[in-house]
C-alpha cells in the first residue's frame, strides 16, 4: 500500500495553500497597480478641470467635477487600503475619529446616488430631524460614509421602479440611530442571522443581482469599531430596514 503518512499529506496540502495564497497576493497587487494607473489619469484630468486649466466651468459643472474628484480620491484610498491588507502582515486599518455632523454626511453621501436613483425611478427621501442643530457623533467620516454607501446601494439594488427609500436619524440617550428603509423585495427570515457574515449573500431568484457579499460584513466591522450596533428588520415582499447606532461625541470626550 502506497499510503502517505498523515504528516506528509498535511505538508503537501500546506504547500498547495501557500502557493494559492501567494498567487492571490500577486493577483491583487497587479490589479491594484492597474487600478491606480486609471485612477491617476482620472485624478489629474479632473484636477485640470477644477483648476480651470481646460477652460471655464459653470457652477454646476464645477460642483460635479469636485464631487467626482472626491469620489476618485476615495477609490484611491480604498486601493491603498487593499494593498495594505494584502501585505504579509497587514497593517491595522486606521480610524480617524472626529466630532462628525451626521446630517451633513448623509446629505453628502446621497448626492452620489442622485443619478442612480433617478435612473431607476426610486425616490430617496432623507427625513431630517426637526432640531436645528443635531448633536455631533463620534465617528470616522470616511468609514461611516462607506457604511452609508453600502446600505443605500443595497436599498436601491433590491428596490424596484417607483419604490421609495427612507433615511431617518434620531437621537437617543447617548447615541444616534440611523435607519435606511426600503420597500423592496425583503429578506427571508432564515437568512437574516447570517446576513452580516463574511461572504454571505442572499440567493435571490433575481439573477441580475450580483455582489461579493463583503459589504455588510465590512459595515459590521466598522460600526463595531465605533462601539455601535448594526441590525436589520425585514419582511419578505414588504421591505427591509437597516439600523446602526453611533455614540454622541459628548459621550466619548
Amino acid at each position: 500500500m502506497d499510503e502517505k503518512n498523515p504528516l506528509e499529506k498535511l505538508r503537501i496540502e500546506n504547500d498547495k495553500l501557500k502557493r494559492l495564497n501567494s498567487f492571490k497576493t500577486d493577483l491583487i497587487s497587479i490589479n491594484a497597480h492597474q487600478l491606480r494607473t486609471s485612477l491617476s489619469a482620472m485624478k489629474w484630468i479632473l484636477k485640470m478641470f477644477i483648476d480651470k486649466d481646460l477652460g471655464e466651468l459653470n457652477k454646476e459643472q464645477e460642483s460635479f467635477m469636485e464631487k467626482t474628484y472626491e469620489s476618485n480620491e476615495r477609490m484611491i484610498k480604498l486601493v491603498n487600503e487593499m494593498l495594505d491588507s494584502n501585505k504579509e502582515e497587514p497593517k491595522q486599518i486606521e480610524y480617524d475619529f472626529e466630532s462628525l455632523d451626521i446630517v451633513d454626511l448623509i446629505d453628502d453621501t446621497l448626492f452620489d446616488f442622485k443619478g442612480e436613483a433617478y435612473k431607476k425611478n426610486i425616490d430617496v427621501i432623507f427625513l431630517k430631524p426637526d432640531e436645528e442643530t443635531f448633536p455631533l457623533v463620534h465617528a470616522d467620516r470616511e468609514k461611516i460614509r462607506s457604511v452609508l454607501q453600502n446600505l443605500i446601494e443595497n436599498a436601491l439594488k433590491y428596490s424596484e421602479e417607483g419604490d421609495r427609500v427612507f433615511i431617518t436619524i434620531k437621537k437617543d440617550s447617548g447615541y444616534v440611530q440611523v435607519s435606511i428603509k426600503d420597500t423592496g423585495i425583503g429578506i427571508k427570515e432564515e437568512y437574516i442571522k447570517n446576513l452580516f457574515g463574511k461572504f454571505f449573500r442572499v440567493r435571490n431568484d433575481n439573477d441580475q443581482i450580483n455582489g461579493s457579499g463583503l459589504g455588510l460584513f465590512a459595515c459590521k466591522n466598522i460600526i463595531e469599531k465605533h462601539d455601535g450596533e448594526i441590525w436589520v428588520e425585514s419582511k419578505l415582499g414588504i421591505g427591509s430596514t437597516f439600523y446602526f447606532t453611533l455614540l454622541l461625541s459628548t459621550e466619548k470626550s
Partner: protein
C-alpha cells in the same frame, strides 16, 4: 530652461505629465522604454529624470542601475514616479539611489511639479 526626461510607457499618462511640465516651462523629453531612454540621454544630459518602474522589456530598476553605474549619468537626480508601492520596491529603488519615490495616484501633477522644483533648487 531646465530639462526633464520622462521615462513612462503609458502614452496617456506620459502626455498628461508632459503637458503639465511644459506649462511650467520645462523642456520635456520623453522615452517609452530603456532603449529610447538611453538614446535620449546620449544626446544631452537632463536636469531631472522621472522614472516609471513597470516598463516593457527592461524595467525601471534596471534602467536606474545602468544610470547610476554610468559616470556620465550618475549625478542626474531621479524621481521614481510609479504606482508600485511595496516596501521592497521602495527599498530597492532607494538602495540604487533615488531622490524621491512618488506613488502616482497619491499625488496631483501640481505636487509632482513642486517636488521637481524643490529638488532642482
Amino acid at each position: 530652461m531646465k530639462k526633464v526626461l520622462i521615462i513612462e510607457d503609458d502614452t496617456f499618462l506620459q502626455g498628461l505629465v508632459s503637458r503639465k511640465l511644459k506649462s511650467e516651462s520645462y523642456d520635456v523629453m520623453i522615452a517609452s522604454d530603456s532603449d529610447d531612454a538611453f538614446a535620449v540621454l546620449e544626446k544631452g544630459i537632463p536636469d531631472m529624470i522621472l522614472l516609471d518602474l513597470l516598463l516593457p522589456k527592461i524595467d525601471g530598476f534596471e534602467i536606474l542601475t545602468k544610470i547610476r553605474q554610468d559616470p556620465k549619468f550618475k549625478a542626474i537626480p531621479v524621481i521614481v514616479f510609479s504606482n508600485l508601492s511595496e516596501d521592497t520596491d521602495i527599498k530597492r529603488a532607494q538602495d540604487l539611489g533615488i531622490n524621491a519615490f512618488m506613488i502616482k495616484s497619491n499625488f496631483t501633477l501640481d505636487e509632482l511639479s513642486e517636488r521637481i522644483k524643490g529638488l532642482l533648487g
